[in-house]
């Protein structure tokens, strides 16, 4: 219906448009036609008018021609000029008129041509007329002329005019005719078309309208039917709704059934009704009736018994009509009972009620009339509702039963729970204990983890330190080596030198000897004496040279030993022979003794043994004025043979026992002058004793004599010959700064021989020192002298390395630096000085030939002088330096009444750069503060003249130079109020006690030295740490498995930059081969997508090998999905890294996974 309506609507619209638009279109078309006709007529009329105008103008022209003719004739006749007036007038107008006529007749060329002829003829005529007139005026013979041509032209003119007008007339006529014809035709056509179209439109319009009206009436019918249906449905719905209302909340089955039946009776006039519900056994049991008499007792139907059963089984409404009375009564007993009587229903409906499509009961309804279809439909409709309600009631009933059962169970449970609670409490107690122990465990675990972490870090640091130590060790070895070589050169030089010296000395001595003998007798006694002096001095010199030679031989390891069996007795005897006379000379007793413990013979170098004993004995005799010198042989507790030389001489102070064995040292500088000697003897003795495998010991007391004991083994150990005297010296070499000088590492540095001895080893105590870094010896000397002149201790370095070493070691107050140094430039020295926290505070002044002042100043030099320079200029340089470093002098004011305390504090904080003014009185302090600026002030609270806080208050109120930071140093405890009062002036209050001096020093240091290098030192530590982290890759072997050349290239570069050794495999096979070939691969970087064998497979195979189960493998995957990563890990990767590779992340992963550092 909807469909038809829709079609009709479109149709309707079409009809409507057809019937309105078509006539409209016809109207518009005819109007247009009409307009065209009228325009046509108008234009035709315009042309007619035009023709009329042309004709009239032509006539005018003709008239003008006639006027001229007439005027001329008049004049000719009369000779009066008056007749000429019309002639002239016409003549003037003629031209104009012709022109206008020409214009009008433009459209017609024939006419224009004709007009041209007229004009010609006219002008000819006019010429003639003028001639005639002139002749007449002159009384000429004009008549002749008139006769000859008088009328010819004029006749021509006239005929032309007539023709002209005739043509125009004809045109006029034609046009009129054409107009008339057109108009007639147009009107006729218009009328015809109008009639035809009107007819057509009327025909179609009528047909359409008829169709429309029929459709409309059909629609009206349908609408009516529809409304009826809706009403029916509404009724059914209302019924359903009311049924639902009625049954709501009713759960007991009988009540529910009764309610339903009541409702049905009310709603559809049921006279009698019964309701049957399927019980659990499947039979239908009646649960409610309506209008049924008492006689009908409970009824139960099984299966398809009776119609009730049939209805339930077939799920179909059974409608039985026109029942005979007895049938009903007999069969069902559904009689309608009332107070007055009873009757049987005439119609019976058996309605199965459905729950979810299944019948669960039947409603039997008896009507006194035939139920309408609508009612039957309604019944079918509500069958499901009733079924649902019934089912709900049934299940609610069941639920109630179940609930009761549960209740019972619940009670049982409660008792059990009670029992459980008891055991639970026990458990809880146990769990509490468990928890406690778990917390303790957790604590321990966390501690362990922490320790672990610390240990790992410690391991790393240890490793770094080890590396640094190794480097230092190597450097030390190099140094030792250098030293050894230098020393060797020295001793060789000495050895050579001694020989060279001996030769001339020898001749000198020989000649002196000759002279002293005075063979020729030409010398006087004094001259002989001189010669003897020359000889004895020469002898002394020779001894010295021999000694030097010996010691240098020993040091150079060149001394050849010739061990043999030596008899102790013979040694002692020889000594006796040699020294007894010498002792006798000094009136000394010379004693020898061989103890019983001494062996008869020993195996040693006899010559060297005797040399030692000679040295010792001659020393003993030399330093003994009276008494005895004694040589005794024996054996000590450890089995060493002893030769003891004792004397009763001057003795040696205990603190000098060590010094006397040094070369060129004697116990007291003044001794040298009194006793002579080179001071080499003991040194040689000691070295020789060492060579023999023994030593020399000394026991001595000033004024009581000395005992030098030579201890040597009875059997000289041949293989223990100490050819390297520096082995023992090595540990005492000054530690080199850990920072490695990159320039140094290239070639080992050897210090050149210094130009001259500087003040390095001088004991002279100058308050300030300067380091001169200069490779030009002369200029260095100038600076050296100048600095001495100005009161500096001067150190000289010839090159950069020395300069840095001296600077760090001696920390001079100032540095004079040359830029053009051999090897490393002075600039880098400057840079290094400034970057070392220990030396950065030292002012550096550059003196150089090259002008690079800007760079130097930027690097931190305080000034720049260009060579050649003058003495005055150099003095200024020193002044500048001094000005700089003396700024560091800090002034401290100490106010303390107790003298001991005062002195101790002065001692505590005093130093080169601290100037302490110590006063006892507050007044004094204030006076000082008025004149001097102090960097720091230390006060005691208890002063004789005023209290400490009083002093502080005075300081704040009186005019003093500046209020220095105040440290209160007091012996008594303070109350909170006192403390607060003091805190106004002082941030540091120190109460004297066991550790107070330390704290005082801390606080003073804080105020005086805001340690300049602190920051940079921290930074350095940080840098070191970073460097240390990077070093983890150093020397490590990384297997890089990747098929992409670019990747290999990039990763190899990055890894090698950190010092790693990179092995490359192009696929899984190669990787496995490499692992088999190269034993010490530390870590594998494995690409996943590779030809041949891919990374996953390769990792699986690698892991399958027992050797590589712990080998760290980092998978490199281009995919970032979690799955892929899991795959990698499952395949055996230790970790994974996504492409594109972030190098920093790679480093950190490598750091994490790099196996621990046993190999570094």
């Amino acid at each position: 219906m909807q469909n038809t309506a829709a079609v009709d609507q479109i149709e309707f619209r079409r009809i409507l448009s057809r019937n309105i638009i078509s006539p409209l279109a016809v109207g518009v078309v005819s109007a247009l036609l009409f307009v065209i006709i009228i325009f046509n007529l108008l234009s035709a009329m315009k042309w007619v008018e035009h023709t009329v105008e042309v004709i009239s103008e032509a006539n005018e022209l003709a008239k003008l021609a006639v006027d001229m003719q007439t005027g001329m004739r008049g004049y000719l006749l009369t000779g009066e000029d008056d007749f000429l007036t019309p002639y002239r007038l016409a003549k003037s107008k003629f031209g104009k008129t012709v022109a206008s006529l020409k214009e009008l007749a433009q459209d017609n060329p024939t006419q224009v041509e004709r007009l041209g002829r007229i004009e010609e003829i006219n002008s000819a005529w006019q010429t003639y007329a003028q001639t005639v007139i002139d002749m007449r005026r002159n009384n000429g013979e004009y008549l002749e002329l008139v006769r000859a041509r008088g009328l010819r032209e004029f006749e021509m003119l006239r005929s032309e005019f007539e023709e002209f007008v005739a043509v125009e007339q004809k045109l006029l006529h034609d046009r009129n005719a054409a107009v008339r014809q057109t108009t007639t035709f147009a009107v006729a056509t218009f009328l015809g078309a109008s009639i035809f179209l009107t007819g057509l439109l009327s025909f179609f319009g009528r047909r359409d309208l008829l169709r429309l009206s029929s459709t409309f009436s059909k629609n009206l019918d349908e609408l009516h039917q529809h409304t009826e249906l809706l009403e029916q449905q509404a009724w059914q719905r209302a019924g359903q709704a009311r049924l639902a209302e009625f049954t709501m909340g009713k759960t007991a089955l009988p009540l529910l059934g009764q309610t339903i039946l009541d409702f049905l009776a009310l709603y559809i006039d049921v006279a009698v009704a019964a309701m049957y519900v399927r019980s659990e056994t499947g039979s239908l049991r009646r649960i409610a009736t309506y209008g049924v008499g008492k006689s009908t007792d409970e009824q139960i139907f099984d299966g398809n018994e009776s119609l009730v059963g049939q209805a339930a089984v077939s799920s179909r409404v059974i409608h039985v009509e026109h029942l005979p009375d007895h049938y009903i009564a007999a069969s069902f007993g559904l009689k309608i009972n009332s107070g007055l009587g009873q009757t049987a229903p005439s119609n019976l409906v058996l309605l199965p009620i459905l729950n979810n499509g299944k019948p669960n009961g039947v409603v039997e309804l008896g009507f006194l009339r035939t139920p309408t279809t609508q009612e039957l439909n309604f019944l079918e409709l509500i069958a499901a509702n009733i079924g649902g309600t019934v089912a709900a009631a049934v299940s609610s009933l069941r639920l109630q039963d179940a609930f009761e059962e549960t209740q019972q169970l619940n009670e049982e449970l409660q008792t059990q729970q009670e029992e459980l609670r008891v055991s639970n409490e026990e458990l809880e107690e146990q769990s509490r204990i468990l928890e406690e122990s778990q917390a303790i465990l957790e604590n321990q675990k966390a501690e362990l983890e922490q320790t672990n972490e610390k240990l790992t870090e410690q391991a790393v640091i240890l490793d770094q330190k080890n590396t640094a130590l190794n480097i230092v060790q190597v450097q030390l070895e190099e140094r030792a080596h250098d030293l050894q070589r230098a020393s060797k050169y020295k001793t060789e030089f000495l050895a050579n030198m001694s020989h060279e010296l001996r030769t001339p000395l020898n001749s000198t001595m020989i000649l002196a000897k000759l002279l002293s003998e005075n063979a020729k007798g030409n010398l006087d006694e004094e001259q002989v004496q001189f010669a003897q002096s020359i000889y004895s001095s020469g002898n002394d010199l020779l001894d010295l040279i021999n000694d030097i030679l010996d010691i240098s031989k020993v040091e150079a390891g060149k001394l050849e030993l010739a061990p043999a069996h030596v008899t102790v007795q013979s040694v002692i005897d020889r000594m006796n022979t040699t020294f007894a006379p010498l002792a006798a000379q000094k009136s000394l007793q010379f004693l020898t003794q061989i103890n019983a413990s001494a062996p008869a013979t020993l195996f040693t170098d006899e010559q060297r043994l005797e040399q030692i004993l000679k040295n010792l004995l001659s020393n003993a005799i030399k330093f003994t004025e009276n008494g005895f010198v004694k040589l005794s042989a024996g054996t000590d507790a450890s089995g060493m043979i002893t030769f003891a030389v004792s004397d009763s001489g001057i003795g040696i102070r205990r603190d000098q026992h060590a010094i006397i064995f040094e070369a060129f040292q004697q116990a007291d500088g003044s001794i040298n002058r009194r006793y002579g000697g080179t001071g080499l003897g003991l040194s040689i003795s000691r070295d020789l004793a060492n060579l023999l495998g023994g030593s020399v010991e000394v026991h001595s007391e000033v004024g009581k004599g000395s005992t030098f004991t030579l201890l040597i083994p009875a059997d000289m150990p041949i293989n223990e010959r100490k050819t390297n005297p520096f082995a023992a010296i090595e540990p005492f070499l000054p530690a080199l700064p850990v920072e490695i000088n990159p320039v140094q590492t290239g070639a080992p540095h050897t210090s050149p021989e210094p130009f001259f001895t500087d003040d390095r080893s001088s004991t002279q105590q100058a308050s300030r020192s300067v380091l001169v870094v200069e490779d030009d010896a002369e200029f260095a000397r100038i600076l050296f002298d100048l600095s001495h002149e100005l009161g500096y201790r001067c150190l000289v370095a010839q090159n950069a390395v020395d300069a840095l070493q001296i600077a760090t070691e001696y920390l001079p107050d100032a540095i004079l630096l040359d830029i053009g140094l051999p090897g490393v430039s002075g600039m880098s020295v400057l840079q290094k000085l400034k970057s070392n926290p220990a030396t950065r505070h030292i002012p550096v002044h550059v003196v150089s030939a090259a002008d690079r002042s800007e760079t130097a100043l930027q690097l931190g030099a305080i000034g720049y002088a260009i060579k050649p320079t003058t003495r005055d200029r150099l003095k200024q340089v020193f002044e500048k330096l001094e000005g700089k470093f003396s700024q560091k002098l800090k002034r401290v004011l100490l106010v303390e009444d107790d003298e001991i305390q005062r002195n101790s504090v002065v001692k505590l904080i005093g130093g080169d750069d601290v100037d302490i003014k110590a006063v006892a009185f507050g007044e004094e302090a204030i006076e000082l503060l008025k004149t001097t600026i102090f960097d720091c002030m230390i006060i005691d609270l208890k002063l004789p003249d005023m209290q400490g806080h009083e002093l502080l208050e005075r300081m704040s109120s009186e005019a003093i130079c500046s209020f220095p930071p105040v440290i209160v140093y007091t012996g008594r405890n303070l109350t909170a109020d006192e403390e607060n009062a003091l805190l106004k002036y002082s941030r540091s209050i120190i109460i004297k006690g066991a550790r107070s001096p330390e704290r005082l020093l801390d606080e003073v240091t804080l105020f005086l030295h805001q340690v300049e290098s602190k920051l940079s030192s921290e930074r350095r530590t940080m840098l070191k740490a970073v460097r240390g982290r990077d070093r983890i890759l150093e020397g490590r072997r990384v297997l890089l498995v990747d098929d992409d050349v670019r990747n290999i290239f990039a990763l190899t570069g990055a890894l090698e930059q950190k010092g790693a050794v990179v092995e490359v495999g192009r696929n899984g096979f190669e990787a496995i081969n490499k692992l088999n070939e190269i034993a010490d691969i530390d870590i594998v970087l494995m690409d996943i997508m590779m030809p041949g064998m891919d990374g996953l497979e390769a990792m699986r195979r690698i892991r399958a090998d027992k050797r590589f189960q712990k080998l760290p493998i980092i998978a490199i995957t281009a995919k970032a999905m979690k799955d892929d990563q899991d795959q990698c890990l499952t395949a055996g990767a230790s970790d994974y890294l996504a492409k594109p590779i972030d190098i920093d992340r790679l480093y950190s992963l490598l750091r994490v996974w790099m196996p621990n550092l046993e190999r570094l």
């Binding site: 928890e435 604590n443 966390a446 922490q450 610390k454 405890n973 403390e979 109460i991 550790r995 530590t1021």
Partner: protein
């Protein structure tokens, strides 16, 4: 029975706790935190972290319960007696030079550490001029600390520690035993300020002369340790003292150069 928490779970949980309660466990050491959470899951009868998270987000009480598991109140009085001995011998002489003292016991937990320090200071004659800040993030622990009652069965252990730490009197002098507990002398706490303070989120509150933070940082990760040390450094006066737990050290932290070891073995450091 319990779903093992993943790192994401943990970070989500800690983030949630942070956002809701401003307790910041995000930088606690992962492994330890994980164990604590697993333990809490069993004890609080949660199936998984999500469950736990939902519960604590909806109930502050549940969160307090969880907090008891997350913070570890395991401590004893005069724990590591040698530490206290070192404080007594090496630090106290310096402390005596200050007219008044401020001491910060960070992460004081249930107060054992605090009472130990108070007793030590009392014996050294410093307690009356000291102000002690005892801070912790767990309000329950702080409450316990405030009460100063410790289980009697542990007192014997404490007594031994006390004697080893250089105690000068009888330990029983400081407490009254009653029922199962030992109530410590109230006067020990006269100058103590108890405060809820988190090393993870809060900042420095006072200039102090001695900071004790023992066995707290072991539960932190490196970032948080750095933060805590930063706070201590900032709080300490020039040349102030820092005492750490026996397994803690500043050696590898960014603050290694800001302190010098005073008694290295006992982890007592001094600010440079």
């Amino acid at each position: 029975m319990i779903d093992q928490p993943t790192d994401i779970d943990l970070s989500q949980l800690t983030q949630a706790i942070y956002l809701k309660y401003s307790y910041d466990f995000r930088d606690y050491a992962g492994a330890s935190l994980k164990r604590r959470i697993i333990h809490a899951l069993t004890q609080l009868k949660c199936k998984n972290v999500a469950d736990l998270q939902m519960r604590i987000l909806h109930s502050a009480d549940e969160f307090m319960a969880l907090l008891q598991f997350l913070t570890i109140p395991t401590t004893e009085m005069f724990r590591d007696p040698h530490y206290y001995l070192a404080i007594r011998e090496q630090v106290v002489p310096f402390l005596k030079t200050y007219p008044s003292l401020k001491i910060w016991i960070a992460g004081c937990s249930t107060g054992e550490e605090l009472y130990s320090m108070a007793i030590l200071l009392l014996e050294e004659g410093l307690l009356e001029r000291s102000l002690i800040y005892a801070t912790d993030i767990n309000p329950h622990s702080l409450e316990k600390a405030r009460k100063g009652i410790f289980p009697l069965d542990r007192v014997s252990e404490y007594t031994v520690n006390y004697q080893k730490s250089g105690g000068k009197r009888a330990f029983s002098h400081y407490y009254t035993a009653a029922y199962d507990g030992a109530l410590f002398d109230r006067s020990l706490c006269e100058n103590v300020t108890f405060a809820d303070h988190s090393l993870a989120t809060d900042t420095v509150f006072a200039e102090t002369h001695l900071v004790c933070c023992r066995n707290v940082m072991i539960y932190f990760n490196r970032t948080l340790q750095e933060r805590a040390l930063g706070l201590f450094h900032e709080s300490l006066c020039h040349r102030g003292f820092l005492g750490l737990g026996s397994k803690e050290s500043i050696d590898f932290s960014g603050f290694a150069t800001y302190f010098e070891p005073l008694v290295k073995v006992q982890r007592i450091y001094r600010k440079l």
